[in-house]
């Protein structure tokens, strides 16, 4: 139960992190002209941050301890 609880708390932290990443003002920092790898900055940022968040969620479930 202890392990499950800790994972639960990490997930809540990840949710809070996600809310920060996909919200004003962080989003506004990337809402600027220009490109990243040939892709408009905002679009590139959102997809990279999104993928990273999913990666962290996977790590939280799949790694033991």
């Amino acid at each position: 139960m202890g392990d499950s609880e800790r994972r639960g708390q990490r997930f809540v932290a990840l949710c809070v992190l996600g809310i920060l990443l996909f919200n004003y003002p962080v989003l506004a920092l990337f809402n600027v002209p220009g490109t990243l790898f040939g892709i408009p900055t905002l679009y590139a940022y959102i997809f990279i941050a999104w993928a990273a968040l999913i990666g962290l969620m996977a790590a939280n479930v799949e790694t033991s301890r």
Partner: protein
């Protein structure tokens, strides 16, 4: 060439394939080898979230808003991060209570209220209608576009259709037939539709692949990759602003935030999501993989949305082509027949998947929470006397499916044409978001009451209806538009789109703000002001503390009354069919070690609760309660009694915790006692051994002293020479006796801790030299050659000088005793290393068997001469020496092999090192 017939045949072949998959999965499930019992199918079935809205609508939204379509997928990702906490709880509650729908869940939580279940059902059906109409619109318009191939004609601009050519109606009817075949083949007590889930998972794969295929084709086929596409889009006048879309477009950040919140609610409370995530879930553990696989699916299906949207805008610059159709029209414009057909099938997958699961979920709600409670209350129908009601239940569900799809079609005809796909879907999202306060509040807050839930739902739904549905109908021309422009009866403050003068927001944000204020406000306000019934107390506790009340029997504690087994059995048989009822009773009996129907079961609270839960799976919690009450006489519990039971339960938990702790402590104490006892026994045995050995040792010299003195006493004629010899033996034996007694006393003192230690800095080199000098005479007598290797100087050790001399004497006399009789040689070495001084005493005797290396240090161990059997010493010397060395923090050991002498060594830490 794509002829209409080809398209229709392909579509039917695809639906046939789906049906085959479902049939196969159902057969496997019946055989006990389910194909869907793994986390991957579960994750894919969750992807029923991606509908025609995602498939066609996202691109349409992206073409006008840029990033505006994404909150719909980022919101669920954020929500799913909370699933570990929230969804696991909902899953556990639902499994324990056999929850079969969202309406059932809410009704069950608030005291199994039939009224509440009915309200939830109505909200869900009305709220979801726009969403279903969206799917019908997508299928029919994608069909009518594809059938015009190679021309690209928008459906609105085509000739008006006759009834026979009204594709949306045909689609609705075909889907109804298909859903009936899928979802209501038979009645399952747990509402599992394994075949349907398998088909949905397959559809999720198809739509993902189709969308990716067209995305890759546009990005890399028409354009040269992402970089090229975005560079050209940035130069396009219509798209330039979409490169930094937030801040200006469509409400900017406020809209973004509200869409995120809205979709967070939708992923939990859309009836079809609840169906696949909760009702169809076979194993809680599947959630672990789904938590990241499902967000990954959403990420994958969104990667190509922007390229498709921008590609479409650049490809059809005149704006005659609806952006919602870019996914289909782009491959058509490039003359990719096969790809266009694949896209059509992908869109069909997305739309049919949604319609099938949604209508099954809604039909279960309509049947269990709307129709059955009413029918069961109408005494005129005499339902209580019908033998088998399974046919009736299935009939109601089938009727509900047809009705829901026809209503969806009606909405499409009434309001569907005026809105883009995404806007239609968002209206439904806002409706199901009304469930969030009562569900989330219900599983984490015991204070929420039935009246509060009813008030909150009705208030939220009313505001939703007024601010979203009414304007949708008005814009389509079914209500006067003056309502929107001037408010009802000309009251400006009540304008549906600017309620109480709130302006500057987009429609969804505006509606969400007001409906949530009304919903949460009424839910909290009414809950806090009114008292609740016993049923509500019980259910609140069972839901909120679900992880504490384990097992289905959790609810049985609250039931008091009388019932009879045959009546309960009959009741179950009427609703589930005789076979299922029989199986359920057998399972119950076997779990308790009885055999059904041979053994008599007790019609106790547990059985009554079991029957109610089984029944709830088929007809919903509220109806099940009514039906069980009709055959069992229940004594109503008062609120105080429920509270008492709850208190008892929590006290029992506390007690059992304490008991467990106590028993752990007891166990530990017992182990300690047992160990102490063992030690005592061992000591006792050692003491006995010691006493008997010591007496034996004392008797030996005494016997010989006595024997010789007696000879001398009785025979005065013994010769002088003989006499001298006898007296010599007597002296030697007496000396031995004295030595032995001294050593025993010494040992007793050391072991009891009463020895007098005089500590000082001792130079081991001096000790060794002195001892060797003292024993010089002995060595000479025995003709033993002694070699000493002593360094010039060693660090002093903290020790007792006399004791050290005693140790050296012991070791050396030991060596003398055992070294070679003819050519004895003893080597003494003193070395210093790593903060300790080491002394080695080596003899050249016959050596010691490795087995005995430890034994020689034990009390009274005597290496007896195998020839004479006479012991060589007291057997205490080495033991005492080791005790002394260890007292000063050192170590003593022996290294030897039989036949090559022995080396006794010890170390002592130097004075500086300790």
């Amino acid at each position: 060439m794509l002829h209409g017939t080809v398209i229709i045949l392909t579509a039917f072949a695809y639906l046939g394939l789906l049906f085959a998959i479902a049939y196969f999965a159902d057969k496997r499930a019946d055989a006990g080898r389910p194909v869907i019992n793994n986390p991957y199918v579960y994750s894919l079935s969750l992807a029923v979230y991606a509908t025609a809205w995602t498939f066609y609508g996202s691109v349409g939204r992206a073409a006008s808003d840029g990033i505006g379509f994404l909150p719909i997928y980022i919101g669920p990702t954020l929500m799913i991060a909370l699933w570990w906490v929230v969804m696991r709880k909902i899953l556990r509650i639902s499994k324990q209570n056999r929850i079969t729908s969202l309406a059932d869940f809410i009704a069950s939580r608030y005291g199994k209220s039939a009224l509440l279940g009915g309200i939830v059902t109505v909200i869900a059906v009305v709220g979801i209608l726009p969403y279903i109409s969206l799917q019908l619109k997508a299928i029919s318009s994608s069909f009518s576009i594809l059938v015009q191939y190679p021309e690209i004609v928008m459906p609105g601009n085509a000739e008006p259709q006759s009834m026979r050519e009204d594709t949306a109606l045909w689609v609705a009817l075909i889907l109804a037939a298909f859903t009936i075949a899928f979802g209501t083949r038979h009645l399952d007590a747990a509402e599992h539709h394994q075949g349907m889930v398998a088909a949905i998972a397959f559809e999720s794969l198809v739509k993902l692949l189709a969308f990716m295929a067209v995305g890759v084709f546009v990005t890399f086929g028409i354009y040269n990759g992402f970089g090229d596409l975005f560079t050209r889009a940035a130069a396009h006048p219509k798209l330039r602003d979409l490169m930094t879309p937030l801040g200006g477009v469509a409400g900017g950040y406020a809209s973004w935030v509200w869409l995120t919140i809205l979709s967070m609610m939708a992923i939990m409370f859309l009836p079809r999501q609840f169906q696949v995530a909760v009702v169809e879930n076979l194993d809680e553990k599947h959630l672990n993989k789904a938590i990241w696989l499902f967000p990954l699916y959403m990420l994958a299906i969104n990667v190509f949305v922007l390229p498709l949207a921008f590609g479409g805008v650049m490809h059809f610059p005149d704006g005659r082509v609806d952006a919602d159709t870019f996914v289909l029209t782009l491959p058509m414009a490039e003359k990719q027949e096969f790809l266009a057909l694949l896209v059509f099938i992908g869109g069909l997958s997305a739309a049919t998947g949604m319609v099938i699961v949604e209508t099954i979920a809604l039909s279960t709600m309509v049947c269990n929470d709307l129709v059955m409670p009413v029918l069961l209350r109408m005494r005129a129908l005499r339902l209580n006397e019908r033998r088998d009601l399974t046919g009736l239940l299935l009939g109601i569900r089938r009727g509900a499916i047809v009705l829901i799809l026809l209503l969806g079609y009606l909405y499409f005809k009434l309001a569907g044409e005026a809105y883009a796909l995404v806007s239609i879907g968002l209206i439904s999202f806002a409706a199901v978001a009304q469930f969030a306060p009562v569900v989330l509040g219900g599983i984490f807050w015991k204070g929420g009451t039935r009246r509060g839930a009813i008030a909150g739902l009705i208030a939220g739904f009313a505001v939703w209806f007024y601010t979203l549905l009414l304007p949708a109908l008005a814009r389509s021309g079914w209500l006067p538009t003056g309502l929107l422009e001037h408010g009802p009866w000309g009251v400006e403050l009540l304008k549906p789109l600017e309620l109480f003068g709130l302006t500057g927001l987009d429609q969804i944000t505006h509606a969400m703000i007001w409906s949530m204020i009304a919903n949460i406000g009424c839910y909290l306000g009414v809950s806090l002001s009114a008292s609740s019934s016993a049923d509500e107390h019980r259910q609140a506790s069972l839901f909120v503390d679900v992880f504490r009340h384990t097992g289905e029997a959790g609810g049985a504690r609250f039931w008091r009354g009388t019932a009879s087994v045959p009546e309960l059995h009959n009741l179950l048989a009427r609703f589930l069919g005789p076979g299922t009822a029989e199986a359920a009773f057998r399972e119950y009996a076997e779990a308790r070690g009885h055999r059904w129907p041979d053994d008599a079961l007790a019609a106790d609270a547990e059985l009554v609760h079991y029957v109610e839960v089984q029944l709830a799976g088929a007809i919903g919690a509220a109806s099940a309660r009514v039906m069980v009450a009709s055959v069992a006489k229940e004594e109503a519990l008062t609120v105080d009694e429920v509270r008492e039971v709850l208190d008892e339960a929590s006290q029992v938990v506390v007690y059992s915790h304490r008991l467990e702790q106590k028993s752990h402590e007891l166990e530990a104490a017992t182990t300690e006692l047992r160990e102490a006892n063992e030690r005592l026994k061992e000591l006792d045995r050692m003491k006995d051994d010691f006493v008997s050995t010591v007496s034996h040792e004392l008797r030996t010299p005494l016997t010989s002293i006595r024997a010789f003195t007696e000879i001398l006493l009785e025979d005065p004629k013994v010769e002088l020479e003989q006499r001298r010899k006898f007296l010599g033996i007597i002296t030697k034996e007496a000396e031995r006796l004295t030595r032995l007694i001294n050593q025993v006393l010494d040992l007793a003192k050391i072991e009891s801790g009463n020895a007098d230690w005089v500590e000082s800095a001792v130079d081991m080199k001096e000790v060794i030299s002195d001892t060797l000098a003292a024993m010089d005479q002995l060595f000479k007598e025995k003709k033993i050659e002694v070699r000493a290797q002593l360094p010039d100087r060693v660090s002093p050790v903290t020790s007792d000088l006399d004791r050290m001399i005693q140790v050296m004497l012991n070791l050396l006399s030991n060596a003398v005793k055992f070294c070679d009789a003819a050519a004895g040689r003893i080597e003494v070495a003193l070395t210093e290393r790593d903060g300790s001084v080491r002394v080695d005493v080596r003899d050249n005797g016959r050596g010691i068997d490795p087995e005995n290396h430890e034994a020689i240090f034990s009390k009274f161990h005597q290496a007896s001469d195998t020839l004479t059997g006479k012991p060589h010493g007291s057997g205490l010397g080495l033991h005492i020496s080791r005790q002394i060395v260890e007292h000063f923090g050192g170590r003593m050991w022996v290294e030897s092999r039989l036949g090559s002498g022995a080396c006794l060594s010890f170390t002592l830490p130097t004075a500086g090192a300790t």
